[in-house]
């Protein structure tokens, strides 16, 4: 079988997308990316507002999250139930989400009733009611989620980690806020969050499916045209506290959960692709990475260990996670540290680099396999400041990474001394001292 593989190591000839991205500007001035595909009679519309939960004022943590949770709980003339009935009658699908850096709105609308669905979507974005009974109901749901997270080892680990690493930056606290802050959020805070988080100057849009540019422009003007122009200031760059070592949070549970990170890299850094490929070899992807091989396959210490580059608007991390029984987490962490140091000292081999490139370039077109997926990718690219031709050029940039470059990046950027672990559980044999 091995010879067969070698004969198949070749670039994918097919372009990722059959259809082209068209840049559309609406009569009202909204820029959007459109991929027309009329084979299925619906359109996926992806709208994203830069800012997200990091716009929360220090005395209103969780306001953006609560606000986003209320967008589908009544708008314009319609109360919460009436809104839901109207949406369901049209079989439109709307979802509203918040992350540290963005509020995301995903809509799927049937061609047959697109205008009605768009009118409903508009009212949820432009004229949400924030009725008191809806506020209390959604607040109760958020508080319930926060209670659950307080004793869930995985949530506990990422919360403790964010708090250690991000200090007093908005990224430090949970997107949902805290029990105290959410209980204290009055309607004024929610209205204010709406006015500052959903604004014209911060919006990114893509549409994929059964719609033309001529129809899309007016639709966008209708859905978004009445939003305020300017939003709240975006947060400053975070000062990362990555001292190295291990911080342990004792919690009675059989398996310890660890999250870890060192400093990452900005997407527009000339070394980004080399670091991206390097991470793939170290801990990205499925069963193939060094971390999976050493921690899972050879030693059976975990069900899964991963590392990834996290590029937030105001912070870059090279992060990862692992979980292992309390009596084996120390060994898992030792192996991860050894692998972290080894890839920094020795770099990667020619063969590893070649395999990683073949995987990454081959896997890229597989992402473009549905209207909603394509809309998601297209809006993410806009937020990253990329142009549509990135799709055609991205694999060339992966291919351009040389062994010399990737090993220089490994020497310069891999930093096992500053690799900082937060562990939740009852780990045995970990000294639990932050450097």
């Amino acid at each position: 079988m091995k010879h067969l593989v070698l004969s198949l190591v070749l670039m994918l000839a097919a372009a990722p997308l059959h259809a082209e991205i068209e840049e559309v500007t609406s009569p009202g001035g909204f820029d959007a990316w459109l991929v027309e595909d009329h084979s299925i009679p619906f359109v996926a519309l992806e709208i994203r507002f830069r800012g997200g939960a990091s716009l929360d004022a220090p005395d209103a943590q969780g306001a953006t999250n609560l606000m986003v949770g209320l967008l589908e709980e009544g708008a314009g003339e319609l109360g919460a139930q009436e809104f839901a009935r109207a949406r369901d009658s049209l079989a439109a699908k709307f979802s509203y989400n918040v992350s540290d850096d963005a509020v995301s709105v995903s809509a799927q609308m049937l061609t047959e009733n697109r205008d009605e669905a768009a009118a409903l979507l508009r009212s949820s974005l432009v004229a949400p009611r924030f009725d008191e009974d809806a506020i209390e109901r959604v607040r109760g749901q958020v508080l319930s989620g926060l209670r659950s997270a307080q004793t869930d080892p995985r949530s506990m680990a990422s919360r403790a980690f964010d708090s250690l690493v991000f200090g007093d930056h908005p990224y430090s606290g949970p997107i949902e806020g805290t029990t105290d802050s959410v209980e204290a959020l009055s309607r004024e805070y929610i209205v204010a969050a709406h006015e500052t988080a959903l604004t014209r100057e911060r919006v990114y849009i893509s549409a994929v499916g059964d719609i033309t540019a001529e129809k899309l422009g007016p639709l966008l003007d209708k859905v978004l045209g009445d939003l305020p122009q300017e939003g709240a200031p975006l947060p400053a760059e975070a000062d990362l506290n990555l001292p190295g070592g291990v911080q342990v949070e004792e919690f009675e549970t059989p398996q310890s959960v660890a999250v870890f990170a060192q400093t990452g890299i900005k997407r527009d850094d000339p070394d980004f692709f080399a670091t991206y490929v390097l991470n793939h070899i170290l801990g990205g992807g499925g069963f193939e990475s060094r971390l999976q091989t050493e921690v899972r396959e050879k030693r059976g210490l975990t069900y899964g260990v991963y590392s990834y580059l996290s590029d937030k608007d105001a912070a870059q991390l090279w992060a990862g996670s692992v979980s292992s029984a309390n009596d084996s987490i120390a060994e898992a962490i030792r192996v991860i540290r050894d692998e972290w140091a080894r890839i920094g000292d020795e770099g990667v081999t020619e063969e590893e680099l070649r395999d990683a490139k073949t995987y990454l370039t081959g896997a890229y077109p597989l992402r473009f396999d549905g209207n909603s997926q394509i809309a998601n990718i297209a809006v993410g690219m806009q937020m990253d400041g990329l142009s549509p031709d990135y799709i055609a050029n991205r694999n060339d940039m992966v291919e351009a990474v040389t062994l010399e470059q990737i090993n220089r990046v490994a020497r310069e950027r891999v930093d096992p001394e500053k690799l900082t672990f937060v562990v939740v559980g009852q780990p045995e044999g970990l000294d639990g001292s932050i450097n």
Binding site: S89, L90, Q141, Y303
Partner: protein
């Protein structure tokens, strides 16, 4: 304000014509001479294929005392054959830009790859190879057993709600193996070994016990040629046993269980009832139960959401679901997460009141119309996701259903009446035949 009723009518008329027919048109099915079923779902929008092999064997087919062996074997299927080194299967897929994985349920075990369409033959060749030529040594088997124990830690032991689900299922099924967890009971997992895995493999893995599903950018002719080339030469197993499992006796007493765990900070209530599954050629009862779950617990306008969350502030979350695609009797499930200050007992009483009332009043006609409208629209949205269609066919064909059953299901759902939903509720939601679970923090002792 939109006028739902007008649009409902227009869309219903339009949907009943081309949409549903198209959804089925791109599906081709055939059988190889050795008994392997093939389903091909054509979607040429992207140069990608999903290739899946589903075996008609799952955790409920395990020998007594070996819970978890079906899932353990699924992991070990990546450990090599006469031609492939351990781990090489996945690394070849990865080196060709693809991704691969597998999953195990009570009724099936499935292996899949997503890869560029021109590599379909490559993954078929490897999948066919491991259908017949698995090689295992203790050097691979023993560390992998530690991996599945860590998987159990991660999925179950670290989560009180997962522990309650496991206990709840065990209480639901007195006699049927659905009461044993797919991942296995820990003490039995610790004893699983190479011999048990190979025994299970030889008993159940054969082309006449498998379904090949290909979805994506390939033509039916091409798939047929490739399937015959790679799978056609594998000998069928003439000794396949019928899938008969011990069945449930009539339930005569309601069952209750309470899990107290210091890690619980949000209590909740779970409820289940034994329920009939979708049967080939007779899916009407299952369709009524499916709609009952939608009416009761799906979405903001569902009956439970309306009553317990919006009107009475009893709950912060409610749910109802019915997993009809199952080889044997399945369950109808309800769950309530109480609002702050509401006890589980109060939540349960409120839940039961709503159920009793529902059986008397039945579903609201407009609500039912909205649900049916959404189900019709799903036929359109689903065409955007060929992998999901592939899973639907694979799951059905390993759970006692046929391609015809899958394709008839949307129309059967549309034909369900309000009376049938109430009748299904009356039959299934019988308090004497219920299992109720409570997840709670420990009682505080002074």
């Amino acid at each position: 304000m939109p006028k739902p009723s007008v649009w409902l009518f227009a869309l219903a008329a339009w949907l009943s014509l081309p949409g549903i027919a198209l959804a089925a048109d791109n599906v081709t099915t055939f059988q190889l001479d050795n008994g392997m079923n093939v389903v091909m779902i054509e979607d040429t929008r992207a140069p990608v294929v999903t290739h899946m092999v589903w075996y008609r064997v799952g955790a409920a087919d395990e020998p007594p005392g070996q819970s978890g062996i079906a899932h353990f074997l699924e992991h070990l299927m990546f450990k090599g054959t006469e031609k492939l080194e351990p781990g090489e299967f996945s690394s070849v897929v990865a080196r060709n830009g693809g991704s691969d994985n597998a999953f195990t349920s009570q009724d099936y075990t499935a292996y899949f790859q997503r890869i560029a369409a021109d590599r379909l033959g490559l993954v078929m060749g490897m999948e066919a190879d491991r259908m017949a030529n698995l090689r295992l040594t203790d050097d691979e088997v023993l560390p992998e057993r530690d991996v599945i124990l860590e998987e159990r830690n991660q999925r179950v032991e670290n989560s009180p709600s997962a522990l309650l689900r496991e206990q709840h299922s065990a209480a639901q099924y007195l006699n049927h193996p659905y009461g044993d967890p797919i991942i296995g009971w820990r003490q039995e997992m610790e004893e699983l070994d190479r011999a048990a895995a190979l025994d299970f493999y030889e008993t159940h893995y054969a082309p006449n016990n498998a379904v090949l599903v290909v979805a994506g950018d390939a033509s039916p002719d091409e798939v047929r040629k490739l399937a015959e080339k790679h799978y056609g030469g594998i000998e069928p197993n003439p000794d396949l046993l019928p899938r008969t499992r011990p069945q449930e006796p009539p339930q005569l007493a309601e069952r209750r269980l309470t899990l107290r765990d210091a890690r619980v900070s949000q209590p909740y209530l779970s409820r289940s009832y034994l329920a009939p599954e979708r049967d080939s050629g007779a899916q009407e009862e299952a369709a009524a139960l499916y709609l009952l779950a939608q009416v009761l617990g799906s979405g903001q306008t569902s009956v439970l959401n309306q009553r317990l969350q919006i009107e009475d502030n009893i709950a912060v979350q409610v749910g109802a679901w019915y997993s009809g695609t199952s080889l044997d009797d399945t369950t109808f499930n309800l769950a309530v997460v109480p609002a702050a200050g509401v006890t589980l007992q109060q939540a349960e009483e409120a839940l039961d009141d709503v159920l009793t009332e529902f059986v008397e009043t039945g579903p609201d006609a407009e609500h039912l119309n909205r649900i049916k409208m959404q189900l019709r629209a799903e036929e359109i949205y689903d065409r955007d996701d060929a992998s999901a269609l592939a899973r639907r066919y694979g799951q059905a064909l390993t759970s006692g259903l046929t391609v015809e059953d899958v394709q008839a299901w949307p129309d059967i759902l549309q034909d369900v009446t309000a009376e049938q939903i109430v009748a299904a509720a009356e039959r299934v939601l019988d308090p004497q035949k219920s299992v109720t679970g409570q997840l709670l923090a420990p009682e505080v002792t002074q």
